[in-house]
């Protein structure tokens, strides 16, 4: 095989054991998205069927297995999760068993959907968190990344959430250096306060130089690989692959990042995937060096 993973996984590649399976991700909309952001690490788009949307019944099967394994929290992503017609039912089923976080681009958050989400959240003993992606605190920096006109549409989605009583976590990538800086952070908080968000919440993520992002800013260099001894075993807690797995319609993957690498697939059921995984992909380097967690 000619993938980067196959080339770079060698006997000296460090392997990370699964310490406990705490976080279960679902690629619930597959790679389908109503946007085609030019920093998307899995190149989601309206025609990308690499992974397909997951129906409620498929999710339910994994939830049952997750209960036996004592999973702590559930995350839903895509693509755009709300393109999945079962999404609200999936959240309802999940929230009966644990906390859920959904990662959305905000475009499908109309007022009625937000009200329904608030009802679903209220009925659960556990937290529902909604994360909305925004890549600039002005349209001029967001729209070139996420698409023409998206800045205003994302903020309209945030407005609808807030009106329904849901305080979203706005997720910002370091696609612009200014997004990650202290002053950038303040600009985002000010933008949200100006929209009436009294307790603005923000999460910043680095970019992964794969998928569309590799085309935008360049791919990983050959030295960006983890070597044996570089990741000390006692410092594995920060690597999400030591405590998470990702379910797609094609099976269970090691983490949310490597779903476009067949080598990232570990099995069909969660029980197949409880063994160690080699950190052979350059994206693993980003997770280690930047201490990235896709979790909130």
């Amino acid at each position: 095989m000619d993938t980067q993973t196959a080339e770079s996984t060698s006997p000296s590649t460090p392997r990370v054991a699964l310490r406990s399976l705490d976080t279960l991700w679902f690629q619930v909309a597959g790679t389908l998205c109503n946007l085609a952001c030019n920093h998307c690490f899995i190149s989601c788009s309206p025609t990308n069927h690499t992974h397909e949307t997951m129906p409620l019944e498929t999710v339910r099967g994994y939830l049952e297995e997750a209960r036996a394994l004592g999973i702590k929290e559930y995350y839903f992503t895509g693509g755009e999760p709300f393109l999945n017609p079962d999404m609200e039912a999936i959240l309802e089923a999940t929230l009966a068993q644990g906390p859920a976080t959904v990662l959305t681009n905000g475009l499908l958050l109309d007022a009625r959907r937000c009200q329904r989400l608030a009802v679903i959240a209220e009925a659960s003993a556990y937290s529902l968190d909604v994360r909305v992606s925004l890549d600039g605190y002005v349209a001029a920096s967001n729209d070139p990344i996420r698409g023409e006109g998206t800045f205003e549409r994302i903020l309209a989605g945030i407005d609808n959430l807030v009106s329904a009583g849901i305080n979203p976590v706005v997720t910002v990538t370091e696609v612009h250096a200014s997004n990650a800086s202290v002053s950038g952070h303040e600009h985002f908080l000010a933008l949200l306060r100006a929209r009436g968000v009294t307790k603005p919440r923000l999460k910043t993520l680095p970019v992964f130089q794969i998928g569309a992002e590799a085309e935008r800013s360049g791919a990983y260099q050959s030295w960006q690989r983890l070597q044996a001894g570089e990741v000390e075993e006692e410092r594995w807690d920060h690597l999400q692959c030591s405590s998470c797995r990702m379910v797609t319609d094609q099976g269970v993957w090691v983490c949310p990042i490597l779903v476009n690498e067949p080598e990232g697939r570990m099995g069909a059921s969660l029980a197949d995937t409880l063994d160690a995984f080699p950190l052979g992909h350059p994206a693993c380097w980003t997770c280690h060096v930047h201490g990235v967690s896709c979790k909130t």
């Binding site: 993973t5 644990g98 003993a125 529902l128």
Partner: protein, 335 residues
């Protein structure tokens, strides 16, 4: 940074349009587009597909008991358990008095003696004189091992800024003898109340700085933890906000909260737990504790500790550490 020549509008539109249709019948495999079938076949051939019996064995192995090196203390009829003293000697004096008043057989502290409040060394003789049995929190681990941060587990820059101020203040004012004493504290304890054996931890049985919040600690997760650590109950702290749940199995998980600062509930009292033996079980009460919070606030100001901390003491609402809160707990907070 890209060195490409800026595109004109038409080129941009063309590129945008091509992105929207590029995947027809194709899949992304790393940096390449390949026919969908090739990707799916390669994926299907990767990873394990165990037989049902092997899967059941994997799940059993995942849930299997993990050793905790702690002798069982007790049995007791009644114990007082508290966490997060945070240098608050006024609240520590009050909880010790409360323990005497209610006839507790023992007082337990779940760690994080320092941080937030003033004069860290002053709590040490109180703990010793009252015979409080402590375990290590992340603070004790960091102070005893010479780490340069509290390892609280915050992710937000503002939260980390205030956590750093607290930690450096405490670190500079703790004697080496006190730090050595902290380093000798156990990481866990096992305590029997009535017929129930309880595991005492700081964050969780697995990690000193794991946050166990009510709204993000589901029943199936807690049941598996109790199986793995072979306990009838778990007592923890670290989050700063207490809660208690009796699980479907009849076992208890109690986050006892902290006595060092209010529970982000708009009350100036702090919280501790009282556990009592009952025939065939235990009762768990989470109780508010009145202490001289005005005296604490005055001392904090004299020590020039951050005013947002003082505000929390006087109002009961957190002004920092808010970004770790899950949706439900954040919705209930003022800031």
């Amino acid at each position: 940074m890209s060195n490409r020549v800026p595109e004109d509008r038409a080129q941009k539109a063309e590129r945008a349009a091509s992105k929207l249709t590029a995947h027809r019948g194709m899949a992304t495999w790393g940096e390449k587009l390949v026919p969908l079938g090739s990707f799916r076949q390669a994926a299907a051939e990767t990873g394990r597909q165990l037989e049902p019996a092997a899967r059941a064995a994997e799940i059993r192995a995942h849930r299997q008991p993990r050793a905790v090196n702690a002798p069982v203390e007790g049995p007791y009829q009644r114990v007082v358990v508290f966490g997060g003293v945070y240098n608050n000697r006024h609240a520590l004096e009050a909880v010790i008095a409360e323990g005497r008043r209610c006839g507790a057989d023992a007082l337990y502290c779940l760690g994080d003696l320092g941080g937030f409040g003033p004069h860290p060394e002053r709590i040490w003789p109180l703990l010793e004189a009252a015979g409080v049995r402590s375990i290590q929190g992340n603070y004790e681990q960091s102070l005893a091992s010479g780490r340069d941060d509290c390892n609280c587990g915050y992710t937000d820059p503002r939260d980390n800024h205030f956590a750093g101020l607290s930690f450096r203040y405490t670190q500079a004012r703790c004697s080496e003898a006190f730090k050595t004493w902290m380093g000798a504290l156990p990481q866990h304890r096992r305590v029997t109340v009535g017929e129930r054996t309880l595991l005492l931890v700081h964050g969780s049985p697995r990690r000193v700085n794991e946050f166990l919040f009510d709204s993000t600690s589901p029943d199936p997760f807690l049941e598996v933890l109790l199986d793995q650590y072979q306990a009838d109950g778990i007592l923890c702290t670290h989050t700063g906000i207490g809660w208690h749940r009796r699980l479907p199995s009849g076992r208890d998980v109690v986050n006892v909260g902290v006595i060092g600062r209010p529970g982000n509930d708009g009350r100036t009292e702090v919280w501790y737990a009282l556990l009592s033996a009952l025939p065939g079980g235990i009762s768990v009460a989470r109780l508010p504790l009145v202490y001289d919070h005005q005296a604490l606030a005055a001392e904090m100001r004299r020590e020039h500790l951050p005013e947002p901390f003082v505000e929390t003491v006087l109002t009961g609402w957190w002004t920092t550490c808010l970004e770790i809160l899950p949706a439900r707990e954040r919705a209930a907070s003022r800031f």
